[in-house]
Amino acid sequence: MWILLGVIAVLVFWGVALYNRLIGLRNQVLNGWRQIDVQLKRRHDLIPNLVNTVRGAMEFERDTLTQVMEARARAVSAAGPADAARKEGELSQALGRLFAVAENYPALRANDNVKMLQEELTSTENKVGFARQFYNDISTNFNTAQQTFPSNVFASMLGFKPAELFEITDATERQVPSVDLSMRK
């Protein structure tokens, strides 16, 4: 009789521990998703600064600068996560072209303000990437915690669903961006 009660008590404690652990992981997953937004917003705010700083020196690259500003405007006004993901991808490509073209301007390369802003934008791109990496890592932990035995028997009963990993939905984003460094313009 006592043995049975002991076994039931152990099972209850284990169940509570499992539930709490899954709750903690799920909240970390939600936080990780929002952290990506934090970094994307930071990028939106930095871009006009960069464009204004380089505009004077890169007057021949008006097209490239315009593309960056238009891509930013579209990304800011995107509707829904899938749309936002695609527009952010286009913005990343436009910025990549701008960085590559800036290599042609030695005066810009030596300018401290430009170097600082390039560093800020590079860092922001990195932070977006690492935020996505962290989100995928923590989602994998969460999914593994749900799907291993014996947790998988109870996880769906307790109301936990596997989290979706961040992935590229638009196939064009997987292509290597083309960079044209010729001086034609």
Binding site: D112, E119, S123, N126, F134
Partner: protein
């Protein structure tokens, strides 16, 4: 780590049985006393130790370094502080790299410090992620690229993430406790030969296994300080490998950290700013190549860091540039 704890418990058991308890096992006053004293000193360093360590190395908070640069740039008298042009950029890069790595690890951003030493090194301190600090020498900033700096910072942040500081504090407490037990025993063995004779006489009446245990225990006591130190350094070396691997997990770029370690190894002179007490927290052994040059078992056993060549090989294996032992 388990071996370490077992060794300590064996010493404490023997101490309490043979020394305190006249041959019978009693409540382990001795073990608790030693652990208490060792623990107090170690855990007081746990709570305020990071400030002490940072002060002892002369670390400057990065905000102050950036502010000094800005002030020097704005003032007309630029000869006071001959700063290189890209110094502000490098400090900004360091700050950004630390923030990037803390995003990748999902931890709060630690405080960043610069140590004005030309030898490349870095260390992390702080009892948990909320109270962590990372310090980097100026020599490191001048030597490595941004990618490699990311690898080094990821290694240091992994020490914080894996709670290595807490582990090394517990280890230090046990090393201290082992030294205390050994000290108390050796005093007693010399002083108490007359009293001990009667003690030993009484326990001779008991079974022979107790005698054997006593002999083994005495040998252990004599070797205890050395063995304790060796075990502590073994723990430290394993955690260094773990920090390398965790850092590679954060950056997904083990080869960058391997290149950084190569550069640090080549440039490495003793880092005078970092004193012996904090040696185990750094990325490279700051006590200089003295131990590293002395090949052989003893030198390897007492080193707080694994040999650099082994670390680099392990990282290159992670990057599939070398064959593993699978």
């Amino acid at each position: 780590m388990a071996v370490f704890v077992a060794f300590f418990l064996f010493l404490g058991y023997g101490f309490d049985r043979f020394y305190v308890g006249d041959g019978d096992f009693v409540f382990p006053f001795g073990t608790f006393a030693a652990l208490g004293v060792g623990g107090v000193s170690a855990f007081s360093s746990y709570y305020s130790g990071d400030r002490a360590v940072l002060l002892s190395t002369g670390a400057i908070p990065i905000e102050r370094a950036l502010g000094a640069l800005a002030a020097a740039a704005n003032s007309p008298d630029a000869s006071a502080l001959l700063v290189p042009e890209d110094d502000a950029l490098k400090l900004r890069q360091l700050d950004n790299v630390v923030e990037e790595m803390s995003i990748a690890a999902g931890l709060p951003k630690p405080k960043v410090y610069i140590i004005p030493d030309s030898d490349p090194n870095a260390f992390a301190t702080g009892r948990d992620a909320e109270h962590a600090s990372i310090a980097v020498t100026r020599g490191l900033l001048d030597t490595v690229t941004r990618e490699e700096l990311q690898g080094v910072v990821a290694h240091e942040l992994s020490h914080v993430r894996n709670l290595d500081i807490r582990l090394m504090t517990v280890t230090a407490a046990m090393v201290g406790a082992i030294a205390l037990i050994s000290d108390w025993t050796s005093r007693g063995l010399w002083q108490g030969s007359s009293g001990g004779g009667s003690r030993r006489g009484r326990s001779k009446d008991k079974n022979g296994a107790a005698i054997v245990l006593l002999v083994i225990w005495i040998v252990a006591i004599l070797l205890a300080p050395l063995v304790g130190q060796m075990l502590a350094m073994l723990v430290s070396r394993r955690r260094e490998y773990l920090a390398d691997a965790s850092g590679a997990e954060l950056t997904r770029n083990p080869l960058a950290l391997a290149r950084a370690l190569e550069k640090i190894d080549q440039a490495h002179a003793p880092t005078h700013s970092i004193k012996r007490g904090t040696a185990h927290l750094c990325i490279a052994d700051p006590l200089g190549k003295v131990i590293g040059l002395r090949q052989g078992g003893v030198a390897d056993l007492l080193a707080s860091h694994p040999p650099m060549a082994n670390r680099i090989t392990a990282l290159r294996q992670m990057g599939f540039l070398e064959l593993g032992h699978e």
